[in-house]
């Protein structure tokens, strides 16, 4: 028979019992950006491989990433990285036991959103050769 007695363990209530709050959106976005960047790094690796093979192949990969569509994917990837980067640092603070107060957590969430946009803009400026 299956594992009938599940033990007298405390069970976490299902996610849907909680009132929807934006820090929850940040939490799932951390996962989505993490998984999404698997695609980004695959594209970048293809570009590196093309560079290692020869000039002709590189021109193809470089033209794909340099196109409008490629640029759009790179900007989305850049934002994904910026978000994951900022929110990751927020998680590291939590792991150190800091910033758990409700107000602090909400504020750090806003800082993550602002930071991800600022880093994306800086990244675009670097790509344009401004810095």
């Amino acid at each position: 028979m299956a594992d009938v007695n599940r033990g007298n363990r405390p069970l976490s209530p299902h996610l849907s019992v909680y009132r929807w709050m934006y820090p929850m959106l940040l939490s799932i976005t951390h996962r989505i950006t993490g998984v999404g960047m698997a695609i980004s790094i695959t594209l970048i690796t293809w570009w590196f491989l093309a560079l290692a093979i020869n000039e002709r192949y590189f021109e193809v990969a470089n033209a794909v990433l340099g196109s409008v569509f490629g640029g759009l994917i790179l900007i989305i990837s850049l934002w994904g990285l910026s978000f994951h980067f900022c929110n990751g640092i927020r998680h590291l603070f939590w792991d150190a036991g800091k910033g758990f107060e409700l107000e602090t957590a909400w504020r750090s969430g806003l800082a993550v959103i602002a930071g991800s946009i600022i880093l994306t803009i800086i990244g675009i400026l670097v790509a344009q050769g401004v810095f």
Binding site: I41, L49, F58
Partner: protein, 126 residues
């Protein structure tokens, strides 16, 4: 309060004992990636769309090449662990789960090896 299930009691299994290893590994790579991500992305942002010779020169610089290799090694460990966490949460059934975990290891290893090989070949001027 009794935490043990019947099955655990019969099989005599206790805690997994090494459950914190992966958690710790993910934090270590995360911390390492804070500087590495910045140092990897800045030259990359300049390189994408630039001329062939210009891009070669960027990655023939020992600093950029070493950073890129370090970045690839660290990000692939971090990515494998992160994807594994997501897979374990959302993929059910032993066969499907095992297949997904295997595919994850193959994917991240392959991308990591291609990345490191390509950068090494470029840096050594091949």
């Amino acid at each position: 309060m009794r935490y043990q299930t019947d099955r655990q009691r019969v099989e005599g299994l206790g805690s997994a004992k090494d459950g914190t290893h992966e958690w710790w590994q993910q934090r270590l790579t995360a911390v390492a990636l804070v500087p590495l991500a910045i140092l990897f992305v800045v030259p990359l942002a300049r390189a994408i769309g630039a001329d062939y010779d210009e891009v070669l020169a960027i990655y023939q610089s020992p600093f950029n090449a070493i950073i890129a290799v370090l970045f690839y090694l660290t990000i692939m460990a971090h990515l494998r662990q992160g994807l594994q966490e997501v897979i374990v949460d959302y993929v059910h059934g032993k066969a499907t789960l095992t297949t997904a975990l295997l595919a994850n290891t193959l994917f991240t290893t392959l991308i990591g090896v291609i990345g490191v090989f390509s950068i090494a070949k470029i840096a050594f001027g091949g």
